[in-house]
Structures are given as structure tokens and as C-alpha cells.
């Protein structure tokens, strides 16, 4: 019963209010299925900010926020274009959607080519492949496990949110609850509180609702990997176009396998109500869509939604989200060789960072305003920086060594042999992804070093969870290289002579691609 109730909470309680905004973001694409509940979760988290900062109950605030956002989306459609379609462009102007630096080939690359029936079949196959990948880890929902932090942090906060403004405010401010890190963002407990509102207080129900929401975040990243197959297949030209279905199928399988691997990295923390895989997978999805897939309005918006979800899930998610927003801003608004100090460019980049960061920063601001703080920086540590740093490096390396070494080998080999193919598919330079990974790990390392908890105890209890993001991200990177490798094996590069005599490719993506082969993407 708890499984069905929690699934319905995510599907209807989050998916319905989030559907129209997600449709506006992603259009009619496979990722919509998984993006809608995550978008609903963001609306719910914003509603919780209202509940804490202004007043009222969760449901009142949720109805208000969902109504305003949905009406705004409908209004935008009424004045611009019909649902799920890109905005019309003036004649003769490429569909760059106002993204500086993004060429027409990139922005059109993720548009599914072909007749409607075939498009629908590929989209259905993508969703089915990702769902099949999720089926294996979700088998564990037949267990009754509830994690320690799930109880002491997330379910405790969920009960506070469930109780309304006064209960939430006074409980979070009660120093007896400092152990629960009262300043932690509200997305996870808000979703649990919504399940309580629908079906009554049941701890297992809350845990399972979060597992389903986490599955959506993992699935968005998996769908991104599957979508990379569309870009790689589009790069196959001439006689090699026959390989496209094989590449697409391989990408879907890679996306599904990534979903399993993502949950396996998190182990029981993925299904016992912890939030680490939730923020980690959201951040990975943001990287896949924002820093790996070809630049387009759809990719950018999906990435932003995922960044917002990560920032509203955990404090380390907020820090990583800010890093990602800066990287995404520089990928979409690249520095120019000349005039790189131009104010309008920097204003654009600032908006790219500030607007999606707003919900996460708003929670952090409210928390600081009402005097909330977490349990990690309450007092200076008596241990030396050197000893803390040494222990932290050893512990983090222990978690990352296998996937890290494998990912480095794949990166080196892929960069040597598949770089040109990656560029032809307009996939982002892997340096973006690795920059995000290393920057996030650096902030994690600093947190451990300057935090107040005894380092051995702290690492023992948390490093296997705090490194989930990096591990899942490296799995995502490898999965994209896998798709590229399979496309290289299925459709080897044609020689220049053959390339010179091959017929002009047709089809939207391919035609655009062949027009811009000499242009390196970022």
C-alpha cells in the first residue's frame, strides 16, 4: 500500500502541478515524463519557503505557487506559441533561440528527425529503456528500510512542514533539533509532507515517495545519456547513416544501465530515504543536459530545472548548483577573444547564474534570517588542518578509486580517438564535466577540513554518501563515451576522398551538422 500511495503522490501530487511547466521546458520529449514530478517537487519546495517565511500551511502555499506558475506558463503560450513547440523564428534567421555562441546545428540537433510515427516510437523506446533500468533498483522498495538520517533529518523536517507555519518555525528554531541540521533545504521533506497530507503520517510512505522522486532525477540524467545517442547518430553521415538505429538503441541501453549504476553507487542510501542520491542525480542530470548535450534552449532549461532541484535538496547541492550555474553560463555565453570585458555579456552571464540560483539562495537566506544553522560548523575543531586533510583525502580516494581510474582511462582513450566524433556530435568538451566534478569535490574536501565534527567519525558516517555525486557523474561521463565508442564502431569515419564524394546529407540535424563540421563546439 505504501508503495502505491507514494507512487501516486509523486505521479499526481507532484507530476500534475509540474506537468505544464515541464512541458514548457522540455517540449514533447521523453524527458518530460521524469521532469514533471521533479518540477512539481521544486514548486513544492518553493511553497515550503513561503510556509516558513510568510505563513500558512503547505497545501495552501503549494496550491498558490502551482497556480501562479501554471497560469504564467499558459499565459506565455497564449502570447508566444503553442505548447511544446519552439518559438517561431523570423524568416532567414537560424533557430539559435537567442543563445550566444550556439550555432544552428547545435540548437537543432536534439530535434527528433523523421515522420511522426517513427519519432513517437523512438521516444517511447527511450522512456521504456529508462523505466526498465529503474525497475531493478526499485525492486528494493519491497524492503522496509529507513535510514538513520532519513529519520533524524528528513522525516523530522517533514513532520514540521506538515504541521504548518508555526510548528515549522518554532521547531526549526528549537536548539534541541540542531542534530537535524535545521538549515537543510526543503525539497525532500516537503515531498514527504505532501505524502502525509494525502495519506496520513506513515514514515515508510515518505521514504518511498523520496525514492520515486530520486528515481525521476536519475532518469533525467539517464534520458540525457540516451539523448546523446540522437546527437551521435546525427553525426553519422553518408553511407554510415544506416548505423543510426544501432547507435540510438545503444544509447538507450546505456541510459538504462546508467540508472542501475547510479542507484548501485548509492547502495541502500538510494532507497532508504536519504537525500544524497537525490541531489547528486539532479546535479548530474544538470551536467549531462547543460554541459554535455549540444547547446539548445531545451537542454539549457532542463539543466536549470535540475540545478534548482539540487540546490533545494541539500546544502552541498546548493554549493554544487552554484558551480554548475557558473559553468553553464560560460558554456552558453562564452568569453570572446576581444571585448571580453563587455558589460552586457557579463550581465547576461550573471542572469544565467542568479535567476536559477534564486530558489536555493532564498531558502539559505530565510534560514540565516531566522537563525538556523547546521551541526557541522558549530565550533572550531581541535584537530589540525593537516590531519583532517590527510584523513579526508584517504577517505575520498577510497570511495572514488575504482570509478575514478576507469573514468580517467576512458577519458584519455576517448579524447585521443573519439574527440573529432564528439565534436561532430556537438557534445560538450569533457573538460566542462570534469571541472564540475573536481570543483564539487574541492568544496566537499574543504567542508571536511574546516568543519567542526571529529574527522574520523564524520568521514566514517558520511563520505560514502557525500561522494555519490562524483561517482554517479563519472558513470555518466563514461556512459556518454560508450555511446560515442559504439557510434565509432558502427560507423567508422569515412576517408576524406569518400567524404568529398558522398551525397549531401538530408534531414534536419544532419544537414545542419554537415554545414558546420569545421566548427568546434564547446
Amino acid at each position: 500500500v505504501a508503495q502505491v500511495s507514494s507512487f501516486l503522490t509523486v505521479l499526481l501530487g507532484l507530476g500534475l502541478p509540474g506537468f505544464l511547466p515541464a512541458l514548457a521546458v522540455a517540449g514533447r520529449s521523453p524527458v518530460l515524463v521524469f521532469l514533471a514530478p521533479l518540477t512539481g517537487g521544486i514548486l513544492l519546495a518553493v511553497a515550503t519557503e513561503l510556509e516558513l517565511g510568510v505563513g500558512g500551511s503547505l497545501l495552501e502555499c503549494y496550491v498558490l505557487v502551482a497556480a501562479v506558475v501554471n497560469l504564467a506558463v499558459i499565459g506565455w503560450w497564449l502570447v508566444s506559441s503553442r505548447p511544446g513547440s519552439p518559438a517561431p523564428q523570423p524568416a532567414g534567421r537560424p533557430a539559435t533561440t537567442g543563445l550566444a555562441g550556439a550555432g544552428p546545428a547545435e540548437t537543432g540537433l536534439l530535434a527528433e528527425p523523421g515522420p511522426a510515427g517513427r519519432v513517437w516510437a523512438w521516444q517511447a523506446a527511450t522512456v521504456a529503456g529508462i523505466l526498465a533500468g529503474l525497475a531493478l533498483p526499485l525492486v528494493a522498495l519491497r524492503s522496509y528500510t529507513i535510514g538513520w538520517d532519513s529519520n533524524s533529518i528528513w522525516l523530522t523536517h517533514a513532520l514540521m512542514i506538515y504541521g504548518g507555519h508555526h510548528e515549522l518555525l518554532t521547531s526549526l528554531q528549537n536548539h534541541a533539533y540542531t542534530f537535524s541540521n535545521p538549515d537543510y533545504p526543503p525539497l525532500v521533506p516537503a515531498a514527504e509532507a505532501l505524502a502525509f497530507k494525502f495519506y496520513g503520517v506513515n514514515l515508510l510512505l515518505g521514504v518511498r515517495a523520496i525514492t520515486f522522486l530520486t528515481a525521476c532525477a536519475v532518469a533525467i540524467a539517464g534520458t540525457g545519456i540516451a539523448t546523446s545517442g540522437l546527437a551521435c547518430a546525427g553525426a553519422a553521415t553518408g553511407r554510415r547513416r544506416a548505423s543510426r538505429p544501432l547507435v540510438r538503441v545503444a544509447a538507450i541501453i546505456a541510459g538504462g544501465a546508467f540508472c542501475v549504476a547510479g542507484f548501485s553507487v548509492a547502495a541502500k542510501y538510494g532507497i532508504d530515504g536519504h537525500a544524497d542520491l537525490m541531489w547528486g542525480a539532479s546535479a548530474v542530470a544538470a551536467i549531462i543536459w547543460g554541459l554535455v548535450l549540444p547547446r539548445s534552449r531545451q537542454s539549457l532549461l532542463v539543466a536549470w530545472v535540475c540545478v534548482v532541484a539540487a540546490s533545494l535538496t541539500k546544502n552541498e547541492g546548493l554549493v554544487t548548483a552554484l558551480i554548475l550555474l557558473v559553468l553553464i553560463a560560460f558554456r552558453y555565453r562564452p568569453l570572446r577573444r576581444t571585448g571580453w570585458l563587455q558589460l552586457s555579456d557579463w550581465a547576461g552571464r550573471s542572469l544565467f547564474v542568479a535567476v536559477p540560483a534564486l530558489p536555493g539562495l532564498a531558502w539559505a537566506g530565510i534560514a540565516r534570517l531566522i537563525g538556523l544553522r547546521d551541526a557541522f560548523f558549530t565550533a572550531p575543531s581541535g584537530q589540525s588542518v593537516a590531519s583532517r586533510a590527510t584523513a579526508t583525502i584517504a577517505a575520498m580516494a577510497g570511495q572514488l578509486k575504482i570509478v575514478g581510474v576507469a573514468a580517467l582511462v576512458v577519458l584519455a582513450a576517448g579524447s585521443w580517438a573519439l574527440r573529432r566524433r564528439r565534436e561532430r556530435a556537438w557534445l560538450g568538451n569533457p573538460a566542462w564535466l570534469w571541472s564540475a566534478c573536481l570543483a564539487s569535490l574541492a568544496t566537499l574536501f574543504l567542508t571536511y577540513v574546516i568543519g567542526s565534527d571529529p574527522i574520523a567519525w564524520w568521514l566514517t558516517n558520511s563520505v560514502n554518501r557525500t561522494t555519490i555525486f562524483a561517482q554517479v557523474l563519472l558513470y555518466g561521463d563514461m556512459a556518454v563515451w560508450l555511446v560515442l565508442a559504439i557510434s565509432a564502431l558502427a560507423a567508422p569515419e569515412e576517408s576524406r576522398a569518400a567524404g568529398a564524394t558522398r551525397p549531401a546529407a538530408t534531414g534536419t540535424a544532419t544537414a545542419k551538422l554537415t554545414a558546420g563540421l569545421s566548427q568546434p563546439p564547446v
Partner: protein, 153 residues
Amino acid sequence: MPSGQFHDGSGGRGTAAASSDPVPDAARPAGGGRGRRVGTAVVATVVAVVVALMLALGVYRDVRLNTGLLLPTSIKTQLLGNDREMCLYRELRHDLPRGASFYDDSANYLHFQRLAEAATLWAVPRLTLASAQWHVTIVRGHCAGIALKAWRR
């Protein structure tokens, strides 16, 4: 910084981007001919095998995790733990009036943490005895191995 970051603002279509081809010779099919293509195919195979093995490792770990979690003994342990939590939840609501402030007498901070969790929405945990109306502590008892002992100050 990631390469390719500096652009002329024309989406990579400017002279700088066009004139400086970033593709390494090793990856260029023409010029090297068949040898290059074979090299690319070999490396692509290595990449595919390494990644496939890593993904397979993930699947294996997940299967192992599920198997462990769904063992009858594991399920029994999980249910016992959840019963204890629900027991605390019910006993607190039975023994303490709504809105009562309480202090945990036991020296075990984890006991206090569990009590505070279970008391959410009903009673108010306090860090000092002076600010509390009730003493509460967890003892061995009838309810999944534990029980609540509460008395008014």
C-alpha cells in the same frame, strides 16, 4: 579552464575557430588512412569494454544489494526497527500531553535524538532540565524491546 571557452562570439564560425582546427592528427581518418581507422576502432573497443564492465559492475552491485535487503532476516530486522520508532511515536503521545516540554534523562544522546524525532508535532524537546516540564527516558520494555518512562517534574 575548459578548452574552447574563448570564442569570437560568432558561435565558433569565426576565422579563429575555422583556421585553427583542434582535431588531433591521431583522430583524423584521412592522411593516416586505414591504420588510423583501425587504431580508432581498437581504442573505441577498449572504451566500450571498460565502460560496459563498469556498468555491469553497477548492475551486479545492485542485484547484490537487493538480495541482501530482501532476505527474510533483513526484512525482520527492518520491521523491528520501524516498530520501535512507531512505538516511541505512540508512547510519547500516550504519556505526554500535547505541547508538553520534556528533557531526556538518559546519558545517551542518540536516545534523546530518537525521542525528539518521535515527539515532533506533539511535544517539545528541551536541552536543559530547567526549561522542561517532563522527564522522559527510554528503558527496556514491552514495545519491540523498548518502552518509554515519563514523569512530571
